[in-house]
């Protein structure tokens, strides 16, 4: 087959076939197009403000590495005037983060960005290894996920940074849209398609316990995972791949496989799903996608779902953690029913939109959860329900936390308290081995850090 020329420059030979439109580009035209599109995402949604300090949630993986690299490039090319820093979370899984944290440390040097690594032990008093020791060896990412969701916010608050960017890509968003669609969870679907989630809040200052609220955004929201990997490959970026040794939620793995299979037969499907998710979000009552999620009242609660550990392998689950996951699912389903009813009975809901549940609340037979599920959901269950349409977003009452939550106490704090209750079984340990303060202001908290050489070229 003769090499086909690049559709753009017509001189170099094409190396990349873009999934979104099938265009064939050479490496340099692809690289430029990829960067330019992210620049457009950033400017179109006014993601950043000049002089803003931005923490990049960095795992050493492909997405966050590409995000750091592209933001550095664009910050210089378009003079955004951003102060970019790297923030990494160490779950405290022995051996799991060693290599990826080494990668992040190299990235910090390569991109000239200060790096902070914070451990779950510092943030929650528990490493994941200790959690597993406490609740059972085999399990999934329930704790890990709940802790991780908040970890970047807690970490950012410590750094005095009010805006965290993460490497969530179009495939991740499509996966989440699909999962929420399959669960019938339109409100959550609406929140997760937004490019900006948790937002600064004026309420924060009235609560002495609260932290400043942290803005979260996803500049790679429209970038295909395929292109992220190809960008990293052709730019020879230094990233690390691994599988989480604690397996992810099986449902997410299934959704991911489905997305990838769809992509094989119809590459545009991924962006189409993202766009559909955005369009559906506009139909959800109470969702003010129109303001970009920044105005008061549209605050996306910090309990939204985001990607798990990134492994596609649905692995063995069992024991305590599986029960925990079941609990979480039951709880979510209970609240879902309530939400659906609220949507159905709301004046702006069109009948066609939510035809599945156009039932009156009194119909006990099909809707027996409706009237008491709120009570049920908050009555001593292990995990609290997420916000319903009627609930007011408040702040976690635990001193020093103040995370946004619809509950008295946020999920993470509840999990920690649950763990602490059973603490006697578990001796208090010194968890992190060292703390390096470097001349350049880089602060490295090394949790269970065993330095190892890294495979990445």
């Amino acid at each position: 087959m003769p090499p086909s020329p690049c559709h753009h420059c017509k001189t170099q030979s094409a190396k990349i076939r873009r999934p979104k439109d099938g265009s064939k580009l050479c490496v340099s035209c692809f690289t430029t197009a990829f960067e330019t599109e992210i620049h457009h995402t950033i400017t179109a949604s006014s993601l950043f403000q000049r002089g803003e300090r931005i923490a990049i949630g960095a795992s050493g993986g492909k997405d966050s590495t590409v995000l750091a690299s592209v933001l550095k490039t664009l910050n210089e090319r378009h003079d955004y005037g951003l102060d970019l820093v790297l923030l990494s979370i160490d779950e405290g899984i022995r051996g799991y983060r060693d290599d990826s944290l080494e990668t992040v440390k190299r990235n910090a040097v390569q991109y000239g960005m200060p790096l902070t690594i914070l451990g779950y032990d510092e943030l929650y008093g528990w490493t994941m290894d200790q959690v597993v020791e406490q609740v059972g060896k085999k399990g999934n990412c329930t704790y890990c996920g709940v802790f991780r969701r908040q970890a970047l916010d807690r970490g950012a608050a410590r750094l005095g940074v009010r805006h965290v960017v993460t490497g969530h890509n179009a495939d991740d968003i499509a996966e989440t849209v699909l999962m929420n669609l399959l669960r019938g969870d339109l409100p959550r679907l609406a929140r997760t398609t937004s490019i900006v989630t948790s937002t600064p809040s004026a309420v924060a200052s009235t609560d002495p316990n609260s932290r400043p609220h942290i803005k979260r955004s996803k500049p790679l929201k429209y970038a295909y995972e395929k292109e992220i990997v190809l960008y990293a490959h052709h730019k020879k970026l230094d990233y690390f791949s691994t599988e989480c040794i604690y397996s992810p939620e099986a449902f997410r793995g299934t959704a991911r496989s489905l997305i990838k299979s769809l992509e094989r037969t119809r590459p545009s499907a991924i962006l189409d799903i993202v766009r559909s998710g955005e369009d559906m979000a506009k139909l959800v009552p109470g969702n003010e996608e129109g303001c970009g999620g920044v105005c008061q009242g549209s605050v996306a609660v910090a309990e939204e779902e985001e990607g798990g550990c990134g492994s596609s392998k649905p692995g063995a689950t069992g024991g305590y953690m599986e029960k925990m996951e079941e609990q979480l699912t039951l709880d979510r389903e209970a609240v879902e029913k309530e939400l659906e009813v609220e949507i159905t009975s709301s004046s702006c809901a069109s009948p066609g939109m939510n035809g599945a549940v156009p039932l009156p609340k009194s119909d006990k037979k099909t809707n027996n959860n409706t009237n008491n599920n709120h009570k049920k959901a908050s009555k001593g269950q292990l995990l609290p329900s997420r916000r319903t349409g009627k609930q007011v977003v408040g702040f976690c009452k635990r001193p020093g936390c103040g995370a946004m939550t619809s509950q008295e106490i946020c999920q993470a704090c509840q999990l920690v308290e649950q763990l602490n209750k059973n603490r006697p079984k578990h001796a208090v340990e010194v968890v992190y081995e060292g703390e390096e303060k470097r001349d350049d202001g880089m602060l490295l908290h090394v949790t269970n850090g065993i330095a190892k050489s890294v495979l990445v070229d």
Binding site: V27, G61, Y239, E243, S312, L455
Partner: protein, 113 residues
């Protein structure tokens, strides 16, 4: 291109196969393999990428989780294949016939960081 490197064997195509993005974990942590692949399959057809994938599964993939590399007779969706650094979609995918000294890279997009 093939003739000058070494007088190629009449029976085998010398190629390089690389794994990255986490895929190397399935291949005993080997990131790069130098292989000699039979020029023709048992039906006398020229060895193509489909043949290579089959060959890799049988000879190189020791991990029992073969479905993380192949699914329904093809490379698992989410694994990118680059033929001499070009997207295999530009080269005819599995029908691409192997040439001497080709570099075939398999990159997983499925692994996390």
């Amino acid at each position: 291109m093939s003739a000058e490197v070494e007088e190629a064997s009449p029976e085998y195509v010398p190629i390089t196969v690389e794994f990255s993005g986490g895929l190397e974990m399935l291949f005993s942590n080997e990131r790069k393999l130098s292989l000699s692949i039979p020029r023709r399959d048992k039906d006398g057809q020229k060895a193509n990428v489909a043949f290579l994938i089959d060959y890799l599964c049988q000879d190189c993939l020791k991990d029992p989780r073969k479905d993380l590399f192949v699914l329904d007779g093809s490379v698992r969706p989410g694994i990118l294949v680059l033929i001499n650094d070009a997207d295999w979609e530009l080269e005819g995918e599995e029908k691409y016939e192997l040439q001497d000294n080709d570099n075939i890279l398999f990159v997983s997009t499925l692994h996390g960081g």
